[in-house]
């Protein structure tokens, strides 16, 4: 089962943005793990390495596709990817559209190579 291998991690500068996107994804991908993390340590606008690391480590899937809103969220992901045993696939795709596409495709058991191919069209960063 795809859903046991791949999970989705959403990193935003704003908590509600990540949470809201996760809600949108879960509606079309009930069986896929979607983890949302957002905001600075104090809950303000920003990102937090610790939060991202913790969110990733809480996921059970060995392979995680990560989406982010702005550049410094990506930097967190890069740092985290150096310190985790998981395979973290950082996707430079449009945040909402890319994550939505992957959610739908994972839910439909689409092979990873096909997902990667379709996602490529949403790369904007």
């Amino acid at each position: 089962m795809m859903s046991e291998q791949y999970g989705i991690l959403l990193v935003s500068h704003v908590t509600e943005l990540a949470d809201g996107l996760a809600r949108l994804l879960k509606q079309v991908a009930q069986d896929i793990t979607v983890k949302a993390v957002g905001g600075a340590v104090d809950g303000g606008i920003g990102t937090s390495f610790d939060k991202v690391m913790a969110a990733l480590e809480e996921m059970e899937e060995p392979d995680v596709l990560a989406f982010y809103d702005l550049g410094s969220a990506k930097m967190n992901l890069k740092l985290v990817s150096e310190m985790t045993d998981k395979k973290l696939i950082i996707c430079d795709a449009a945040f909402v559209e890319g994550a939505y596409l992957v959610a739908v495709l994972l839910q439909a058991d689409t092979p990873f190579e096909k997902i990667r191919e379709q996602l490529q069209e949403l790369y904007v960063k």
């Binding site: 600075a40 340590v41 606008i45 920003g46 990102t47 937090s48 390495f49 610790d50 702005l70 550049g71 410094s72 930097m75 967190n76 890069k78 740092l79």
Partner: protein
């Protein structure tokens, strides 16, 4: 010379400069970003300060590891992650017995790996790279550091928020470049660098 003592002084002076210039760094970031660079850096600095105060027995490599984790975990924002990553790489490099030049080169590698910025993209890299070159050529001075910082006025941003309005940003010093200037001033003042 790079010793435990001078390393501690280096980091402490950096912290002090960040404390003294928080407002100024925020102001610089207001013109090109979201105005939080000073506040961000201060968070990391103060956390590290507390750690240094408690510490009595760490070596240089351990001190930079501590600095790295402090900035990564507490700063928030792009620059904190980049400084943190640089410090972690410097720590690694220290452990392997590298000299100052080697350490600075390792730090730069860390920054580039995470931030992927090139020269003249109006980031702290525009200070880090020429300073490293000056160390290599044994000609680093406070004046030269200052020149490198000021040189970022003329560059167009390609990274971070500033990239969106890069054409409108000529004439402004990059906030990350300014804080990076403090880092190297602190290095000079701590006596780490000696021709």
């Amino acid at each position: 010379m790079l010793t435990v003592e001078t390393t501690k002084t280096w980091l402490s002076l950096f912290i002090e400069k960040l404390e003294m210039n928080e407002k100024y760094l925020n102001t610089l970031d207001e013109s090109i970003g979201d105005g939080d660079h000073g506040a961000n850096m201060l968070r990391g600095a103060q956390y590290l300060k507390a750690k240094l105060a408690e510490d009595t027995q760490s070596g240089s490599a351990e001190l930079f590891r501590m600095a790295g984790m402090s900035f990564i975990q507490k700063t928030g924002g792009a620059a904190g992650l980049l400084y943190g990553q640089a410090f972690l790489h410097m720590s690694q490099s220290l452990q392997e017995g590298d000299d100052l030049l080697g350490i600075l080169a390792s730090g730069l590698e860390g920054i580039k790996k995470v931030g992927q910025a090139e020269l003249r993209e109006k980031t702290l890299v525009d200070v880090w790279i020429p300073v490293t070159e000056d160390v290599r050529n044994k000609r680093l001075t406070l004046d030269r550091i200052n020149e490198h910082v000021i040189s970022t006025k003329d560059f167009k941003a390609k990274k971070g928020r500033a990239a969106y309005v890069s054409e409108q940003l000529n004439g402004h010093v990059d906030p990350g470049a300014a804080s990076c200037g403090y880092f190297f001033e602190a290095m000079l003042e701590a006596g780490v660098y000696d021709e």
